[in-house]
């Protein structure tokens, strides 16, 4: 009997159903689990209280990232520098104890492999196509760039995965975001995903898993695909996917935790079957014309508040829907913006290049290409680069990118989540603006009262040089 054509999401889902309950909930096997210090302590504590162990410790990888200061981790004598914030130190210490106590591989803060979980997973070959990947972090969607079904979970689910290596889930609906044509010069993967979120809205993918389809994605590098899938959650979709292909296999081959030898060949043969079948039905489909995408920035406090860099701060009364008008007015008050102002006239005091969205080597190269031979504007008070991992940092230093950033007036930091969410000391001061390569422009996200404008790495560099939001294409 010929089987019904299936989407990529449905294929991965079907391959992970342990059993289906009468009420329609499925017990789904989890292949890979990433753990960091913020969303795991209560899960480990619950296991301890209930006397439960970890079912498959080798399928979980722990690495600290959210709380870590990005200043030097060891002193001149090579001794670890203590963390000043008592609560952060306690949370980091808890992971350092919990992971080995439950038999889980732990990458310490001082290791060169340390970094943001979503940078480390692909880099180590822990994240693989066709696998289910979870983490107590909503940007787990990132790993969909490798063709994995990857999504964020809460701490109770972290505990559930540790104890059972499964989750009880309701199947989402498959959604297609099809992008036709090619991106113009100077338009990046980040601009495209911002444009997509601006088009479908912050709840446009709610209840769905998005598959990104079209030539644009096939031509992207893995790092670009990771950037796109990373922000699926900002459109409300729990996960985003791009079908794995030769680009994916070339990226993964030889990575420490990727399959080797005959197993590699078998894995690739299986991965080649992971694409949506001809005739597969998507519950929702959106088409975007790539040629209309410009370098993009956000003006408000939701990632859906996107405008092309050539555009202006919107007038709240121009929104059709009443709740959006109210929200826009609140956003503009918080952001201190006047409707009708050209975006290129918005001054910037801070620049942050980093986060799980844009802290990989290609991101740093893109920013450095703009900064080379230039300096940040005088009104840019604080500019930092936080590489996604120690390996990214080492690679950048080998290429001399650290010198380019430092010469341009940037601080060159140690890896971590940093000013994306300001859990560590890296924060944007109240009332100041930040051109940020991160993923969320929420109220208070980068620090209480901080005003975030989401941009690509090249656009962040352009903002640093001009001292305002700027079209990077004028600087190439």
């Amino acid at each position: 009997m010929a089987s019904r054509p299936r989407t990529l999401y449905e294929k991965i889902w079907d391959a992970h159903v342990v059993e289906t309950r009468d009420d329609g909930t499925a017990l789904i096997y989890i292949d890979r689990h990433l753990v960091h210090e913020v969303t795991s302590p209560q899960a480990f504590e619950a296991l301890r209280i209930a006397g439960r162990g970890v079912r498959r410790p080798e399928l979980t990888l722990a690495v600290p990232d959210h709380n870590l200061p990005t200043t030097a981790r060891v002193d001149a004598a090579g001794k670890p520098v203590p963390i000043a914030d008592v609560e952060s130190a306690a949370q980091l210490a808890a992971l350092e104890v919990n992971a080995p106590a439950f038999g889980i591989r732990y990458i310490p803060a001082t290791a060169k492999e340390q970094g943001i979980v979503h940078v480390v997973g692909p880099e180590q070959g822990f994240s693989l196509p066709g696998t289910t990947i979870v983490c107590g972090d909503s940007h787990t969607a990132c790993h969909g760039g490798l063709g994995a079904l990857a999504f964020g979970i809460g701490t109770s689910e972290v505990e559930h995965v540790l104890a059972t290596q499964t989750l009880l889930l309701q199947q989402s609906k498959p959604m297609e975001v099809r992008v036709e044509g090619d991106l113009g010069p100077g338009v990046s993967a980040k601009d495209l995903i911002l444009h997509i979120i601006g088009t479908i809205g912050a709840a446009g993918g709610s209840g769905y898993v998005i598959e990104y389809r079209g030539r644009v994605f096939e031509r992207m590098t893995i790092e670009e695909r990771l950037t796109v899938c990373n922000m699926s959650i900002e459109a409300g979709a729990r996960a985003g996917l791009i079908a794995p292909d030769d680009v994916t296999f070339a990226y993964l081959k030889g990575r420490p935790m990727a399959p080797k030898g005959a197993e590699w060949d078998a894995a690739v043969a299986y991965w080649r079957s992971l694409h949506s079948d001809e005739g597969a039905v998507f519950a929702k489909s959106v088409t975007i014309d790539a040629t209309t995408v410009e370098p993009s920035v956000t003006w408000g406090t939701s990632p859906e508040d996107v405008v092309a860099i050539g555009g202006r701060v919107p007038f709240p009364e121009d929104f059709a829907d009443e709740s959006k008008r109210v929200a826009a007015q609140k956003s503009l008050d918080y952001m201190g913006l006047v409707p009708g102002t050209p975006m290129t006239e918005v001054p910037i005091e801070n620049v942050f290049i980093g986060s799980c969205t844009n802290s990989r080597i290609e991101d740093l190269r893109a920013a450095a290409a703009i900064l080379k031979g230039r300096r940040k504007a005088d009104n840019v008070r604080w500019a930092i680069v936080v590489p996604g991992s120690g390996l990214v940092k080492a690679q950048a230093e080998e290429e001399g990118l650290d010198r380019v950033f430092i010469d341009a007036g940037f601080e060159w930091r140690e890896p971590g989540c940093s000013a994306c969410l300001g859990m560590n000391p890296d924060k944007v001061p109240p009332g100041e603006r930040c051109a940020s390569t991160s993923n969320r422009n929420f109220v208070g996200r980068q620090g209480p009262g901080a005003r975030t404008h989401l941009v690509s790495p090249a656009m962040a560099a352009a903002a640093a040089v001009t001292g305002r939001l700027a079209d990077v294409r004028a600087l190439v």
């Binding site: 439960r52 080798e58 894995a267 969410l421």
Partner: protein, 200 residues
């Protein structure tokens, strides 16, 4: 987890759309290794505004919260559910919720009720009068002193967990044999999938 069958009480008429989990509980409160006491940090930025709805004495002791579309979007932090629970909230009513938040809520004995925008608008008006709203999970209804009656649905598994205060981890651990069978066939067919960190 405390079972939830029926909740009656005043409701905080928040009403905003896209209330993200950074708004519900800012990052600085996530440094805890406990689930307790997060109500103090709930809606911190909003509460800094004079005359805000959260601290309005008219809604003191509220057990319900009414919000706009896409409530709980953003970060997966379960601290958002813990913070709401610590504030005494047992039910959140909105036109839609983020997938992750609604799952976290149920696992902490908080019921997410999805109702159409018109119904939510009506309930916001009633909440602003300081009147009690009643939610019955058995009957899946929301009722008001004005005899409004709205019905909602919740997936049967989540409903069962809430009504009976079930421990999901315990339920799944009882299926250990089925999980073991799945793992065995996996190890035979695709051994690389089961190696994980041991591959390095």
């Amino acid at each position: 987890m405390e079972p939830l069958t029926r909740v009656e009480g005043r409701a905080i008429p928040l009403g905003l759309k896209n209330v993200d989990t950074d708004i519900i509980i800012p990052a600085k409160w996530l440094k805890t290794i406990s689930r307790e006491g997060l109500g103090r940090g709930a809606f911190e930025a909003l509460r800094a505004e004079p005359g805000n709805v959260i601290d309005d004495p008219a809604y003191a002791g509220a057990t319900l919260l009414i919000a706009g579309d896409n409530f709980g979007c953003g970060s997966s932090r379960e601290h958002a559910a813990w913070a709401l629970g610590d504030m005494g909230i047992r039910v959140v009513i909105a036109p839609s919720f983020s997938d992750i938040f609604s799952g976290n809520a149920v696992k902490n004995g908080i019921l997410p009720v999805v109702l159409p925008q018109e119904a939510v608008d009506r309930l916001l008006d009633i909440a602003r009068e300081g009147l009690a709203i009643s939610v019955d999970l058995e009957a899946q209804t929301v009722t008001t002193p004005y005899q409004d009656r709205f019905t909602f649905t919740l997936d049967p598994f989540r409903r069962d967990c809430l009504l009976n205060g079930l421990d999901e981890v315990g339920l799944t651990m009882a299926r250990g044999e089925a999980i073991g069978g799945f793992e065995a066939s996996r190890t035979a067919a695709q051994p690389w999938l089961m190696r994980g960190t041991a591959a390095a």
